[in-house]
């Protein structure tokens, strides 16, 4: 087992027992990256080669020198007996939607390709202060707009380590792939409609969207400010808990970072699920989408393997003392996507106003007659298709004459989606759930360039994850085996506001119940390749 394949908490233990140094851990991670990642994503990257098609391409910017300095600092502290921090020596990657001082912070867009951030996002700063070692900035869908990483302006975009002909998911594709491929035990991603949980499920890793307001958004380049959540991607629940411990909590730079004390996630982890009430909902075992005429709905059951993974997890948890509550109705789940389309586009269109070629980032090199033309050319040449699509939709649905019909209506439907969860989790209600267990995604990782053209179908892929973003509640996706095609399957636990400690505890119980199963020993195809070489 290579050092880079170990989990964060194992590496932390080895470091404290001085059996390994932070620099050795870093070298192992860099070696794995060199072996499996291939060339980093760049703009104007030329044609895709066969070699490219076999690599992960998680990275846009590798920060090896910064990482080495941090690793050496950790080793120095360990040598002098100082406390090196909870995440000392642990390599981590950063979704390139976070500003990190001194690094290119590109949002995977041409319009910010040359932007070097003069400040660091709070969650990243907290990880570095806790001794973590930043390996680099990883790829994503441009401005996080997408579920497959393919819309990144930095090509070749990330590929799924388990099957490089398939997508890693998105928009935190680089984060999930870098963790799954053993390049780094931890990554920080963002989740606006499922952008952590879906790639985590596609790549067979743990991905958590904390409660909105649990982790500061300062330094997170905004997409939909009322939905965006920074969160951890890791190989197991303990590592995710360790990382959340470091990044969670109030922040003077973010008014929406809630004043809620951060519990000790690690202490609660092993307490089991005795007496816990876990719900299953039929609304999460199918996709509901509109037929041609508005008001009529079609339903499509999920692939059997998805439902079986969830039901098996329920059985395991029942065996460990949890109570499983069937048929919990979540009637407004079906409205998550259209509501998301409207709310996210209104906020996105506004949040992208600032990219105008004036202050930073891309400014057209074409001659322009006046300022208006500078705006138009810079934005036309700097943005990819997805940002343009979302800006235009945002303009349309928030224009004064349409706002009532679209935007105000969407905000009301969002409250109805929230009410589903309030009723399910109400301690005095009919169901009194501690958590809802659901599949994470309707399909496993789909082939690259397969559905990218038809964005509506791809958007329905988020139907099981976006309700948690609307409600603001926390959700975690766990690897739960593989389907017949050898692709990872994820299951999801959703819980009430600020119940991360309970979700981690339930997830850990599931992890313990399945730790000896064969699928847990599988390695991504390309990692085996690497072992053959070294």
């Amino acid at each position: 087992m290579e050092l880079c394949d170990l989990s964060a908490h194992e590496l932390a233990r080895l470091l404290r027992q001085k059996q390994v140094s932070a620099v050795e851990i870093l070298d192992s991670a860099l070696a794995r990256t060199a072996a499996v990642d291939g060339r980093p994503g760049t703009i104007d990257s030329g044609a895709l080669t066969d070699e490219d098609a076999r690599k992960v391409h998680a990275f846009i910017t590798l920060t090896a020198e910064r990482a080495r300095a941090q690793a050496q600092a950790v080793d120095a502290k360990l040598a002098s007996g100082d406390d090196p921090g909870l995440l000392a020596g642990i390599p981590f990657t950063v979704k390139d939607i976070f500003c990190v001082q001194g690094t290119k912070s590109t949002a995977a867009s041409r319009i910010l390709a040359n932007f070097e951030a003069p400040y660091t996002a709070t969650p990243v700063a907290r990880m570095e202060e806790a001794g973590a070692v930043m390996l680099g900035k990883v790829n994503l869908d441009e401005f996080t707009y997408g579920s497959s990483n393919e819309s990144s302006a930095f090509q070749p975009s990330t590929r799924n380590p388990w099957d490089t002909s398939r997508v890693p998911g998105g928009s935190s594709g680089g984060s999930a792939a870098s963790v799954a491929a053993g390049e780094a035990p931890l990554s920080i991603g963002t989740d606006t409609a499922g952008s952590i949980r879906q790639p985590a499920a596609f790549c067979g890793v743990v991905g958590m969207k904390p409660t909105y307001g649990r982790v500061s958004r300062y330094g997170l380049i905004a997409f939909a400010s009322s939905l965006d959540c920074p969160g951890p991607l890791a190989r197991n629940v303990t590592d995710a808990a360790m990382m959340l411990q470091v990044i969670a909590g109030q922040d003077a730079h973010d008014s929406t970072a809630a004043q809620v004390p951060v519990p000790d996630y690690l202490a609660a982890l092993e307490k089991g699920v005795q007496g816990m009430r876990i719900g299953l909902s039929p609304d999460y075992f199918r996709i509901t989408f509109p037929k041609a005429e508005a008001g009529e709905f079609d339903q499509q059951a999920l692939p059997a393997e998805m439902e079986q993974a969830v039901r098996r997890a329920a059985d395991l948890l029942r065996a460990m003392g949890a109570e499983i509550i069937e048929d919990v109705p979540m009637p407004n789940t079906r409205y998550g996507i259209p509501t998301y389309f409207v709310i996210s586009r209104v906020e996105a269109a506004s949040n992208l106003h600032r990219y105008d070629g004036v202050k930073y980032g891309y400014r057209t090199s074409q001659p322009v007659a006046d300022l208006t033309e500078l705006y138009r050319r810079s934005r036309a040449e700097g943005f990819g298709l997805q940002p343009k699509l979302r800006i235009l939709m945002g303009m349309y649905v928030s224009a004064a004459q349409y706002s009532e019909q679209y935007y105000q209506r969407a905000l009301r439907v969002r409250s109805m989606i929230r009410r589903d969860f309030d009723e399910a989790f109400d301690p005095h209600g009919k169901y009194r759930l501690d958590a809802l267990l659901t599949p994470t995604t309707p399909t496993p990782a789909f082939p690259i360039a397969a559905v990218y053209g038809d964005s509506v179908l791809m958007q329905y892929a988020d139907q099981l994850t976006v309700p948690a973003n609307h409600a603001g509640i926390p959700g975690i996706s766990l690897p739960a085996g593989f389907n017949s095609a050898g692709l990872p399957i994820g299951i999801q636990f959703l819980g009430p506001d600020f119940s991360e400690d309970r979700l981690l505890r339930i997830s850990r119980a599931y992890e313990i119940a399945t730790e000896d199963e064969d699928w847990r020993k599988r390695k991504p195809s390309m990692v085996k390749q690497d072992e053959v070489i070294s």
Partner: protein, 483 residues
């Protein structure tokens, strides 16, 4: 020629004098700073930044809203106003749209007598909310230079109902508003420094009509006189247009200070395109009862109320009350003087308006900063009233106390300024003067009795002004007429 009525509404942007900007911890006042130095990632709208509300902005805005008799909203919200402009780094301005901190409000404006007698103009307030300022741009040739120093400076936007009926009333509104802002201590309101900016919405209609014609908006006029002049010019233009049968279009006009001319300019964007929506990066502003009471504790008696009270309580004429309540510490100074003096308030007012105010203006200090305290002034007044010193000595004492900081009594005692009332001493000096000036005695006795004034002056000079002039005069007449 039909006779027209002028309809004016004023939009003011008031720069609050907090220490820091509204959503970041940069300085609020950067008037003397070089360009783009008073900036941070937040106020320059870098990717990923978030606004954090400054509590003092809420407090000063709430104080102003209360002083304008507006209802204070227990919960108010920030919204985004989206438009592209080089002085707006985020591409949207964070403002308050449908649920602002202040609702309604008014000011009863005293209009001084002019051709008509003085009257009160009731001016309603339609909008009163918090927002962030934009940066500054100026053009140089075909380029525009952008300075973000002022981005994020806290503003209160206050908009009146179209209740003003003349350029003079508009000017009075600005005068009273500036006085109130300084009085409350929420803004320096220096129009030259852009701390109080005014846009005027002007329209006219035939006298007696009740409908409103389309209005033109006159933008960034930066002095009270300029507002009056710009409005007068625009009203004149609109009258000529109406008389010629042409319609008034809703133009946006910019006042060119130097040329004294209005220029048509393209407005930033039509209203419908601002695409207002709730600011997701900020929480609602919760003005709890407890916080509100703490704020309103600082709400002083308002200038116009105090002005009215000075007239009734102290029997002062309107003129005195107006001057004495122009600036808050001056009005406090007057009241403390009257309390310490307990004599005729008008007398205290005279000394204050004629002498002490000159000292204040010349020294540039505020009344509160004078070393000559109200107790000192009262003491001087009592000394003069009781005849211990005469008026001139009293007036001279003002400057002496201010310079030395000693009390009037101390100075009178040290410099022996007390009037000498004893006959013998004056008699002796009078005889000296007559003896030294035989020619003048001769001509007085030949009938030139006006010389008596000269003789009194001579005696005062000898006694260094300390003598009782009337007593000296009667002794001199006695000596001169005795033969």
């Amino acid at each position: 020629m039909t006779e027209y009525e002028t309809i004016i509404g004023l939009e003011t942007h008031i720069q609050l004098n907090t220490e820091t900007k509204i959503f970041c911890t940069c300085k609020a006042d950067s008037w003397f700073d070089p360009p783009n130095t008073n900036i941070c990632p937040v106020c320059t709208g870098l990717p990923g930044v978030l606004p954090v509300l400054n509590e003092r902005v809420v407090e000063k805005a709430a104080l102003l809203a209360a002083a304008m008799h507006a209802a204070l909203a227990p919960i108010s919200f920030f919204d985004r106003k989206n438009y592209f402009y080089p002085d707006l780094p985020k591409g949207y301005q964070i403002s308050q749209y449908d649920q602002p901190i202040g609702r309604g409000g008014y000011i009863d404006l005293p209009i001084p007598a002019g051709t008509a007698p003085a009257y009160i103009r009731h001016v309603g307030i339609t909008k009163l909310h918090m927002e962030e300022d934009a940066g500054k741009t100026r053009n140089a040739g075909n380029r525009r230079l952008i300075d973000f120093n002022r981005c994020g400076v806290p503003l209160v936007e206050m908009v009146t109902e179209p209740d003003l009926r003349s350029a003079d009333e508009a000017a009075q509104y600005l005068i009273r508003l500036r006085q109130l802002l300084r009085w409350l201590g929420v803004s320096e309101a220096d129009m030259e420094k852009g701390q109080l900016r005014c846009d005027a919405n002007v329209s006219i209609r035939p006298k007696g009509a009740s409908y409103l014609n389309p209005k033109t908006e006159i933008k960034n006029v930066n002095s009270i006189d300029a507002v009056r002049e710009a409005i007068l010019k625009e009203v004149g233009r609109q009258q000529r247009e109406m008389d010629a049968g042409r319609r008034i279009e809703a133009w946006t006009l910019e006042w060119d200070e130097d040329a004294g001319v209005l220029r048509k300019m393209r407005s930033k964007e039509t209203e419908a395109d601002y695409r207002y929506f709730r600011e997701p990066d900020l929480l609602p502003v919760r003005l709890t009862e407890e916080w509100k009471q703490a704020i309103l504790k600082d709400l002083p008696e308002l200038p116009l109320d105090r002005r009215a009270r000075f007239i009734t309580q102290y029997g002062l004429p309107e003129y005195d009350a107006d001057i004495l309540t122009n600036e808050r510490t001056l009005s406090d100074y007057f009241e403390q003087t009257v309390q310490a003096y307990s004599g005729d308030p008008k007398r205290a007012s005279n000394w204050l308006m004629n002498d002490v105010l000159r000292m204040i203006n010349e020294s540039g200090k505020s009344a509160a900063a004078l070393r000559l305290t109200p107790v000192h002034l009262a003491e001087i007044l009592k000394l003069v009233d009781s005849g211990i010193i005469n008026t001139n000595t009293g007036k001279a004492l003002l400057a002496k106390v201010e310079a030395s900081g000693k009390t009037p009594g101390q100075i009178v005692q040290e410099e022996g300024l007390a009037k000498v009332g004893d006959d013998a001493v004056i008699r002796a000096v009078c005889q000296e003067v007559l003896a030294e000036n035989p020619k003048e005695v001769e001509s007085y006795r030949d009938g030139k009795i006006t010389l008596i004034g000269w003789f009194v002056g001579a005696v005062m000079k000898k006694m260094r002004g300390k003598a009782d002039a009337s007593l000296a005069r009667s002794i001199l007449e006695e000596l001169l007429n005795a033969r």
